[in-house]
């Protein structure tokens, strides 16, 4: 039996050859279609990647024809946080929230939506760099440092090592994504070394 410890959004069966690693996000290979049962839509495009703009445009086009649709666009989550919070506060149950962008922003955006009460059936997401990350490449990851207890944007592969931008410790980024924090747990990679 396959157990997914953490899912960033509703998961479609991907043509993955190996078992998914527990604790890592499972991204759909292609953006999922708009959920037709929604009575309003909130499309969130985060980041400047060209793919982000096209996916968001496709979603908006499909959603607009069905129900009132709101679009929030920002260069990253921090820049768009107040707009997104305003949209989440105004949203009524029956809304479907769709986020697209780099996975660092998308994961943190999903966590923000959950904090405002959104459930998994109301969330869809697509990470434009999800396939690259799954292939083992370094991408921007949201990393929670267990030592300085802050969340940082870190460029590294899943399970990789990096220097903490907050406390300068050498971190190991664990296969441990928290859905509510929207970040990977990281801790001192040399904690067991004596020197």
């Amino acid at each position: 039996m396959t157990v997914e410890a953490v899912r960033p959004g509703p998961v479609q069966p991907t043509p993955a050859t190996a078992e998914p690693v527990l604790g890592l996000p499972v991204w759909p290979a292609e953006p999922e279609p708009v959920d037709a049962s929604g009575t309003s839509y909130l499309v969130v495009a985060l980041g400047t990647a060209p793919r982000t703009a096209t996916v968001a445009a496709d979603w908006v086009r499909a959603a607009e024809g069905r129900a009132p649709t709101r679009l929030v666009v920002a260069d990253d989550l921090d820049a768009g946080r107040s707009d997104l919070e305003a949209a989440l506060t105004a949203a009524r149950t029956g809304v479907r929230i769709m986020l697209v962008g780099g996975q660092c922003d998308v994961l943190l955006g999903l966590a923000l939506a959950r904090a405002y009460g959104a459930g998994e059936a109301e969330l869809r997401s697509f990470a434009v760099d999800g396939a690259a990350a799954a292939a083992g490449e370094a991408t921007d990851l949201p990393v929670y440092c267990a030592h300085c207890r802050d969340t940082h944007r870190v460029h590294a592969p899943y399970g990789g090592e990096a220097t903490c931008p907050g406390c300068a410790r050498h971190l190991e980024i664990h296969h441990h994504l928290s859905a509510s924090r929207g970040s990977f747990l990281a801790s001192d990679a040399r904690a067991r070394d004596l020197a």
Partner: protein, 349 residues
């Protein structure tokens, strides 16, 4: 303390020691009986020693042993167990209160109306939670129809106690609005609003309007007659609510036909039981000496769930979700049957 003393204590008190953990069969005393409307009686119970009673989740019910004149099943039975929703918020109660509608069919509710008086001891079991608030509830939409107001009142009181927010929709016939004053008093508090509706059309309109305007993270709960619950589910779907946010409790089950004959095999013994139309699997199992817990016998309470190993099933209950039904590994033995005439099923008992 010596070891034998500890063993004796464990023997005498098998679980928690404090009486406020007791949920087994026990007697409580009637301390108050209030007539709420022509057909609804409010009964308040206390422990005979006046002690603290077990806390319960909002929406929980108490199982009361009643002695009706007309019994639905075996003639040699003289008592029936009825489940009544508790109306309090459930926190450290010293009293349990239920409100009972007279059904007028000579059943357990008539006994509560005709025979029960202050000072009587009644046998109860529970409380049991079957309609609890969801833990990720940010706001609640509570919908009550008629006597279905009892669990809704419990939910509303709990929301007020814990400082949450809710909207209540109460659909009642004028003159038959039990607990209407209680709800109006709650609605005077900040964060609680009450919408009253007295006709079917008005109820449908209010439901459509309220479902369309609830904040993100709202859960909806409803209890009432079947047509109102159908309207409630339809209104939720029309407003785009995911299934997981829409909860309901039924207190009446639709009439069911006698069903098809089928054969049940008991996995542990290999015994084969023929179940003819008009007889439930539950009755067949009980007759064959298998102890199966049961309560409502109409597919509402979920007590008589039995695991199933194989065979086609026809689910006729109101308890299992669609995914649980399609899994085919369990059934409610009181109403659900083999999937077709002559079906063979294997129950894991």
């Amino acid at each position: 303390m010596s070891a034998p003393a500890v063993e004796r204590a464990v023997e005498r008190y098998p679980a928690h020691l404090h009486p406020a953990y007791a949920t087994g069969v026990r007697s409580l005393r009637v301390v108050e009986v209030v007539r709420l409307t022509d057909t609804v009686r409010h009964v308040v119970l206390e422990a005979p020693d006046g002690g603290v009673l077990a806390s319960y989740e909002p929406g929980a019910h108490l199982v009361v042993t009643t002695f009706p004149e007309v019994l639905p099943t075996e003639a040699d039975q003289t008592e029936k167990r009825n489940a009544y929703s508790l109306t309090g918020d459930g926190v450290n109660p010293r009293r349990y209160a239920v409100s009972v509608l007279r059904r007028g069919d000579g059943g357990g509710s008539d006994w509560v109306h005709d025979a029960l008086a202050v000072g009587d001891l009644v046998e109860v079991e529970g409380p049991r939670s079957s309609f609890a608030p969801r833990h990720d509830q940010r706001h609640a939409l509570l919908v009550a129809g008629g006597i279905g107001v009892t669990p809704v009142l419990s939910h509303a009181r709990a929301v007020v106690r814990w400082g949450g927010t809710c909207e209540i929709v109460y659909s009642y016939r004028p003159g038959h609005g039990a607990h209407l004053e209680d709800l109006r008093a709650l609605a005077a508090r900040p964060g609680v609003t009450l919408h009253e509706a007295t006709t079917v059309e008005h109820t449908a309109r209010v439901l459509a309007e309220r479902f369309a305007d609830q904040p993100l993270g709202t859960h909806a709960y409803a209890c009432g007659p079947v047509p109102m619950l159908d309207a409630y589910v339809d209104a939720a779907a029309a407003a785009g609510w995911p299934e997981g946010r829409v909860h309901l409790e039924r207190f009446t089950a639709p009439e069911l036909d006698a069903g098809v004959p089928f054969t049940a095999t008991v996995a542990s013994t290999g015994q084969r039981l023929a179940v003819p139309p008009g007889t439930s699997l539950l009755t067949a199992l009980l007759d064959a000496g298998h102890e199966v817990a049961n309560l409502c016998r109409q597919g509402v309470c979920g007590e008589c769930l039995v695991p199933v190993r194989s065979g086609a099933l026809e689910h006729r209950d109101l308890v299992l979700s669609e995914s649980e039904k399609s899994a085919g590994d369990r059934m409610l033995s009181c109403v659900s049957r083999g999937g077709h005439a002559g079906a063979e099923i294997e129950v894991d008992l």
